[in-house]
Symmetry: C2
Subunit: 476 residues, 2 copies
């Protein structure tokens, strides 16, 4: 699996560096196979990945060509956050986002909501209803603190897809990935400890660090390959870092999948400096490539990786069911889980276990993956069409969020305020930074099937951004 | 409401002090009404409360008499925990308790499980099933961070019963009372802070203090009137206490209801020393007296009381729905709630809101209250019959737990081990203390309707205790 990713990365870099220019023909599959000593199918996989990334396109009978980049927004710049541990701010902005109740008259492009309207989700709702009618009423009792065994068995099976072998006893079911994150962080760190994070980074994880009194050290991150290992190593040398917190597969908000070789290298670094890794894999199963990427956890041999995930993005967030595979921190995580919420609600656990066991999980996720992949194309197309010239955008490899970068001086807080009056809501970039960076960025959700209403909403975002930009540059 | 409680307390104290002896006739309603300048019905209420406490009994046409105490076990002694802040231990014992899954072949007398088999709970199960079938699938979405508005409106209405006027905006819905407790503690305290607790005290709350790195200062507690205000005041003078954590109404594990006058005095103390109060009211609605006791919160004027509760004991714990009324700490609690689990599961919230709104809550709770009150009589009767002579027991005023005290040298950890082989489980006393005191005590649940199996289980506890006691005192 490593080989094709390495090759794709190499070719991608050459294209980005201008070695192959837009419209130019790329080396044939056969010649690359000879040059790199890999199989023909490895090269084909690499090309398919680059195609998914929008970097190359096949033309019938004549091979692969570099796509015309002018038609795609440029990628966001590599982030350059402050290189020292900071206290985390931005709670007010996050609160504004999470306080809002879904409203019929507001198009919420800002929240991390998957599409839950697929018919492939129906069996889950049936299960939920059936459990409420069971004579023995399992949903009314305290569950044991590890979580339901049938569910843990199914989760352990699913984790094989990412190369992970864990047993049900290695897992703790949690109330969403949120609880997986907070119990993990508390299991490893104490107040005042420094945590290295990929930046930009999920606001929930950031606010957890804040709430627990940690300091965040934001590490520069590449929009294609993820956290900069070079910057991370420098940081590990300079600071007493306790934990590295990352979302390496289908990152929120950037959408990249960190290449396997870099995941391994990250683990080696963590071993060398003896720090723990919190790997958030909540979007991992929504990677557009098949098979889904391996987790850092799958390479872990000494139990230093705490893998956190949930069914919030793959099934539905309202179920509030997640899990941790905490490695050597199992006992500590159990204690933190106990004091956080006691046992986890039994009914949704049982329903999800039924759903997976009956074979409904993979067909559902497969369907959503391709819907989201089409959604990405549509969203990038709208951004290209409606956003100010010079707008940059991510090219997500999974999940359902687009990261959009406007000129450095732009203020998306103002944009959001102007949009709310028009019934549109976005996620402002600053909440994805511990120190309030990325004010000129925003994140939009493309999970729902495209409709004229959503197109109109995205258009409003683009046009309002343009209006604000023009105002900004015209004399008062 | 205060008047009759004061009077009952006074009379109760006189009886306990031997001023009125077993079998003796008590003053008439009329003469007490004249003596204390209160109405006849106030005196009657006071007598009814003493009757509920098992201290007096009416005889037709001749008034109230002191009951024959010889037939009831003596009350537990006033606790005398260490008078200095300690780090909390006992996690292993708690883990043993909460790790266990309900098993058909073990009678679990140890857990805090209410009876969920009442027909009055059926409408709740119907609601749960219906919500799973609704077209708009509200159970699948992220709820807002405060919790569902309809539910908060119903909770605010219920809280009127305890004399509390709060608006839905003052409430935060949580994942059980556990989350209410941990978010509240984190909202008020920082690592290393000292928290004063009534002792013995719910193990979950104790372990929360441990997990968050607080120190517990255990305050002596009277089995009838609750936390000793005198000892508390001394502690407040000596130590920089940040928070007082108590369960004053239907205490777990002791079952007392702190008299209203003492609740007020506690609040005055907290004001004087400017500390916050965490009031756990999870059993409050299960008081055997009507109307239910007022909360400390209901007297609070400057927002220093954080009231924590849940539907785990009144309806069913598997729902995992609780709440906090955090007073002036609202913003901090919201932040802690967000990082702990994000939003709370929507489906059980909606079902509970339906259940209360349709008027099912009060009839259900009324029914459970009287079932539990009968359960108390039965359990005390069994303890009197089957336990070693000299056993002491609480006289719970609400809820469904009995606290049993064996001779000082006794070890309930050993008892529990011996019982598990016989398919019976109890809660050992040491988990109710920060420092592992109360090893000679145990807690038993009497929520379920009495059956020969349960009687046999309680008998096994008593007889095994006797056997161990005899072994202990016989030369090896
Ligand atoms: C990266 C990441 N981790 C965790 C979460 C939280 O997931 P859950 O809803 O399961 O708590 C989210 C949701 O937005 C997320 O984007
Ligand atoms: C006093 C007390 N508080 C809180 C709880 C926890 O309640 P929940 O199950 O709602 O988290 C319990 C349950 O045992 C309890 O006895």
């Amino acid at each position: 699996m490593t080989l094709y990713l390495n090759l794709a990365e190499l070719l991608g870099a050459r294209i980005e560096q201008g070695l192959y220019r837009p419209g130019q023909r790329l080396p044939s599959v056969r010649s690359l196979s000879l040059e790199h000593g890999v199989s023909l199918s490895t090269v084909q996989q690499a090309y398919r990945m680059l195609e998914d990334n929008g970097l190359v396109a096949p033309r019938p009978k004549s091979g692969y060509f570099v796509t015309d980049h002018r038609s795609l927004p440029a990628l966001p710049a590599i982030s350059r956050p402050a290189q020292r541990p900071v206290d985390i701010s931005q709670w007010e902005q996050v609160l504004e986002l999470v306080r809002s109740t879904p409203q019929a008259d507001v198009i919420q492009l800002g929240r991390g909501m998957p599409d839950v309207n697929s018919p492939t989700l129906k069996p889950l709702l049936r299960s939920l209803a059936q459990i409420s009618r069971r004579q023995d009423m399992p949903g009314l009792y305290y569950d044991n603190i590890h979580g339901n065994l049938a569910l843990r068995e199914q989760i352990a099976r699913l984790m094989l897809d990412s190369g992970c072998r864990v047993s049900p006893a290695d897992l703790v079911v949690t109330t969403g990935c949120h609880e997986a994150l907070s119990t993990s962080i508390r299991a490893v760190c104490e107040t005042g400890d420094i945590v290295a994070v990929d930046s930009p980074s999920f606001h929930g994880a950031m606010q957890t660090l804040k709430g627990l009194g940690m300091k965040a050290l934001e590490i520069p991150t590449d929009p294609i390959t993820g956290i900069s290992l070079e910057a991370l190593e420098l940081a590990l040398e300079q600071w007493p870092i306790k934990l590295i917190q990352i979302t390496p597969s289908c990152n929120n908000p950037m959408g990249y999948i960190m290449p396997e070789a870099r995941k391994k290298a990250l683990l080696t670094l963590a071993q060398r400096y003896d720090v723990a890794i919190l790997e958030d894999d909540v979007y991992g199963d929504l990677a557009y490539t098949y098979p889904r990427p391996r987790t850092v956890k799958s390479f872990d041999e000494d139990g230093r990786v705490l893998l956190c995930s949930s069914f919030s993005k793959t099934l539905a967030p309202g179920l509030r069911i997640g899990w941790v595979a905490p490695g050597r921190y199992l006992e500590r995580v159990l204690h933190m889980k106990y004091i956080s919420t006691g046992s986890t609600s039994a009914q949704p656990q049982l329903a999800i276990a039924d759903f997976i066991e009956a074979g409904h999980y993979h067909p559902h996720v497969r369907r959503m993956r391709s819907q989201y992949q089409r959604g990405r194309e549509q969203m990038i197309d709208w951004v290209t069409r409606y956003f100010p010239p010079g707008t940059r955008a991510s090219r997500p490899q999974g999940g359902f969020m687009l990261w959009v970068e406007l000129p450095e001086s732009f203020d998306t807080l103002r944009l959001n305020r102007a949009l709310l009056e028009q019934g549109v809501q976005i996620a402002v970039g600053s909440i994805f930074s511990a120190s309030g960076k990325y004010r000129h960025c925003l994140r939009m959700n493309y999970a729902a099937r495209p409709t004229p209403q959503i197109e109109a909403a995205v258009r409003k975002v683009g046009e309002t951004a343009l209006r604000l930009l023009v105002e900004e540059h015209s004399p008062a």
